[in-house]
Symmetry: C2
Subunit: 392 residues, 2 copies
């Protein structure tokens, strides 16, 4: 269902020949590398959030300008190359891509968003890409959402799609691919969300920012921020439903959370899905900062991979933050066992069962009423292997 679950959207995912083939050919899947998502309206309202990395890929620089106009007709996405750190020539390539999509749709390039994912620093092969846009346009359909989700995969082993039905019958759909802060070997986390609800660009922007701040922004596998991260929300208004904004935000957040969960369990080389729940924080910002810092501790991530409930590595990470806390009031539970109380050893560490794939760490700062959860993965030899052998 993916991005074509809501009315008003068509999509396609095709093999344009952008990806270098690796491993045995599998025409049905591996070679798809170009996706097109088209909003047929009646509305074209749209919003987007982009990477905060100061080194931004050409498609991010282009697409941020498009989204600023509040109207998006179509999104073209390619895997097989990030078009990042490619200079003015790379920006021309993005521009040419948008122009080509505009041409086949007989529309304006100023309402075409471009997303790219793959290796940084190399130009895209423009001939196959532009030809691929013709092919994709010819295959656009109401059933194309799954193929589009497949075409944006890089090292993702499965496509990530989700949808929810809202009150009154409108739909929210989405697809994502998992690189970015999650498994950023390929330099990008991309997600396109669609809805047939009737909302303004300003409303979409507000809802998207709030939903992303508690979902995609709280996913952090290795602290590496991509040059290409993009999350888009397009509204066709084709259902005719004008939803309650809070209810719509819940649905969008649910779709984002569902996609994040799929990204997390498919992260490169990961054997554990780890939730760091920070409670008792003086502010949300403190909770997020502590959660993110703990999630970025290579030592802790190695320990959890080894199923070692090493709470000392949690405390030593907390201690590097500026959050409000007293060291002798910190409590830590791992999978339900309060293994650290008052900054020192608590319940017996042998009671902690770390065999399940899901691991929950609660960090209680004893400093206030706020909380936040950051999701991460363990650090494994498989991660090292996948990320040692990518571009060569």
């Amino acid at each position: 269902m993916s991005v074509t679950a809501p009315l008003g959207f068509r999509a396609a995912g095709i093999a344009a020949g952008i990806k270098k083939r690796q491993g045995p050919p599998d025409p049905a899947n591996d070679s798809r590398d170009l996706a097109l998502v088209v909003n047929d309206g009646p509305s074209r309202a749209a919003a987007g959030v982009f990477t905060q990395n100061r080194v931004k890929a050409a498609p991010v620089l282009w697409s941020a300008q498009v989204v600023a106009g509040g109207q998006v007709r179509a999104v073209v996405l390619n895997s097989g190359g990030a078009n990042a750190c490619t200079g003015p020539a790379g920006f021309q390539d993005t521009h040419a891509t948008a122009e080509k999509v505009a041409e086949v749709l007989r529309d304006s390039a100023g309402e075409i968003v471009v997303c790219s994912t793959g290796l940084i620093g190399e130009r895209l092969p423009m001939d196959p890409l532009l030809e691929g846009i013709d092919t994709a346009a010819a295959q656009l359909s109401r059933d194309g959402g799954v193929a589009a989700a497949d075409a944006i995969r890089t090292t993702d082993t499965v496509s990530k799609i989700s949808f929810r039905r809202g009150e009154g019958g409108y739909m929210v759909g989405g697809m994502a691919k998992g690189a970015g802060m999650l498994a950023p070997a390929l330099a990008t986390m991309l997600s396109v969300l669609t809805t047939d609800a009737d909302l303004t660009a300003a409303e979409l922007d507000q809802v998207l920012r709030r939903a992303v701040s508690v979902t995609f922004d709280r996913l952090d596998a290795d602290g590496c921020m991509s040059t290409n991260d993009t999350v888009l929300l397009l509204a066709s208004a084709a259902s005719g439903v004008r939803p309650d904004l809070a209810e719509f935000e819940r649905k969008v957040t649910e779709v984002c959370a569902d996609l994040c969960r799929q990204l997390l369990v498919d992260a490169e080389g990961a054997s554990k899905a780890i939730a760091i729940e920070v409670v008792g924080a003086a502010s949300i910002e403190d909770a997020v900062d502590v959660g993110r810092t703990v999630a970025r501790s290579n030592l802790l991530k190695c320990a959890l991979h080894g199923e070692d409930p090493n709470w000392g590595r949690v405390l030593s990470a907390v201690g590097t933050t500026d959050a409000e806390f007293e060291p002798d009031r910190l409590n830590v539970a791992i999978n339900g066992i309060w293994i650290c109380r008052g900054g020192a050893a608590g319940d017996d560490r042998s009671k902690v069962d770390l065999r399940p794939r899901d691991v929950t760490i609660i960090v209680d700062l004893s400093a206030g009423p706020h909380s936040a959860t950051i999701h991460t993965t363990d650090l494994t030899a498989a991660y090292v292997h996948e990320n040692s052998a990518y571009s060569s």
Copy 2:
């Protein structure tokens, strides 16, 4: 030579039975776990720098108070346990350790520094530790520096020692063990430096802070800050030489740099010694910030392990900093090849030879005259293995 290279110092390193034995016994080496370094004067001037982690081990809390007094008679160091996150009882253990050393030296506990390294969150076995202090005191000698350096090892495969002779004939000696920000599985980087030059505590403090800021502070293997990091500088004045302060600072910096180099090449699981030279920075702070951020990119560290000159991962790390730079003016050289020029692909990546153990990455921010070098290691499956299997 180590800490007993300068006149006025005696040391010992003995097996007290604090370390849990792992692997086959080797009484000559593996079991040493207690070191004692004594300053016989005539001066006892001393300085120290400690971890900036807000979760500080008991010995750090104790020793910072001692050093604040500017006088240190002796340092007792144990491996086999960090005595961190052990609450008031752990602080009592540190206090008792200092009292015991004071007793055997017939001196004041207020001038005894204590350092511990090992697993966080467990109490030290005090009976063998206190008995070990008697044994160590009986073995104190002018030849004991090497045994002391051996006794503070945890996963260090070799002892780290260094010394330099200064103008006029005074000596600077030192020992270190490599955990801390370098290979912090065991939660600590410890170093004791000694000199027989005649300097005040204030002079030692100034020199030590400046030397550490360009050596130990620029070593960063995985961004994890320890609860126990300690670097001490003790002066006996036994040579009678009052050195030129700038010349003395150069010697101390040389000893620190030499010890850092030894720590780096012995880092857990590392197969590359990587220097990140940031040049063209608007300030030293920018240069250090960029160098540290690049050094902490797991993706880059994996790529270098795989001998892949992935400069895109350098730029994407630089882009997450607040340093002054323009993305299209960034240049990156890897092992002498300017593989990125003006924020885009430069010379042919196939020219980069990443087979040597030493790797040098130059990041040119094109924003000013300042520079700094951060030293790090690659990220390997061996690192994951060592840090997955430590406390269990």
